[in-house]
């Protein structure tokens, strides 16, 4: 299950809407070992494409090193699909390389409704999980 504050949920959706029709992408970092998403980090989509995303390699290095220094890990890796469902595609599955992350997919294919779903992707296997949106500041969600 992914537990996420409404504030962070809304930031992901807003980023996806803002970048539509290109795919949006980013990370939510959280304290290592807690599974708690806390720090929203929108990333540049170096592909700037409506059907593909890729983190810029230099930006990814900086963000990953910063997380390491802060004893954080990438709790959520999110991206949007602009014309298809909010479900991991074959490329999403083949490139999923953070086994501990919650992979959040948002679809912006409909103008008035964003689909928001979360998945674990391990060794090529996709498992959908429940998304629990809670009130409050990041870090104060009840256990």
């Amino acid at each position: 299950m992914l537990t996420i504050t409404a504030d962070l949920h809304d930031k992901i959706v807003a980023h996806a809407r803002a970048d539509h029709p290109d795919e949006a992408c980013g990370v939510i970092a959280g304290p290592a070992g807690t599974g708690r998403p806390e720090r929203f980090i929108a990333m540049l989509n170096a592909e700037r494409s409506p059907t593909f995303y890729r983190f810029d390699s230099t930006e990814q290095f900086r963000v990953w090193r910063e997380m390491d220094e802060r004893d954080e890990e990438p709790v959520v890796i999110y991206h949007s699909h602009t014309a298809t469902a909010a479900y991991p595609s074959r490329t999403d599955i083949s490139y999923a390389s953070e086994p501990g992350a919650h992979y959040v997919l948002v679809s912006t294919r409909e103008p008035d409704r964003a689909e928001f779903r979360s998945f674990r992707i391990l060794d090529g296997v996709v498992t959908e999980e429940e998304v629990r949106v809670v009130d409050g500041r990041a870090g104060s969600a009840p256990e």
Partner: protein, 92 residues
């Protein structure tokens, strides 16, 4: 001579779980060959017949080696090489 090589989570199966290993070599290519002699199969995750794999990022200190010399990039004692799988995907 020691060059630190930082290994991402998904490749730690090749290093017995180690987050960081040491190696030597005059170039990145030599370093990967040296690592592969102790961690068999690791190089194949970074390099294929065409060269450096497209969706694996390798950094020498703070720079993506694609902007340096690729696999021919010179490396030296005290350098740190970091491997990060690219984060990518898409709707299709």
């Amino acid at each position: 001579m020691a060059i630190e090589v930082r290994i991402p989570t998904i490749l730690r199966t090749y290093t017995g779980g180690a987050k960081s290993v040491e190696g030597s070599g005059a170039t990145l290519a030599e370093l990967l060959g040296d690592l592969d002699s102790r961690h068999g199969g690791l190089r194949d995750r970074l390099v294929d017949d065409a060269g450096q794999r497209r969706f694996v990022n390798v950094y020498l200190n703070d720079e993506d080696v694609r902007f340096l010399g690729g696999l021919a990039t010179p490396v030296a004692d005290g350098d740190t090489v970091t491997v990060l799988p690219a984060v990518a995907g898409g709707g299709r």
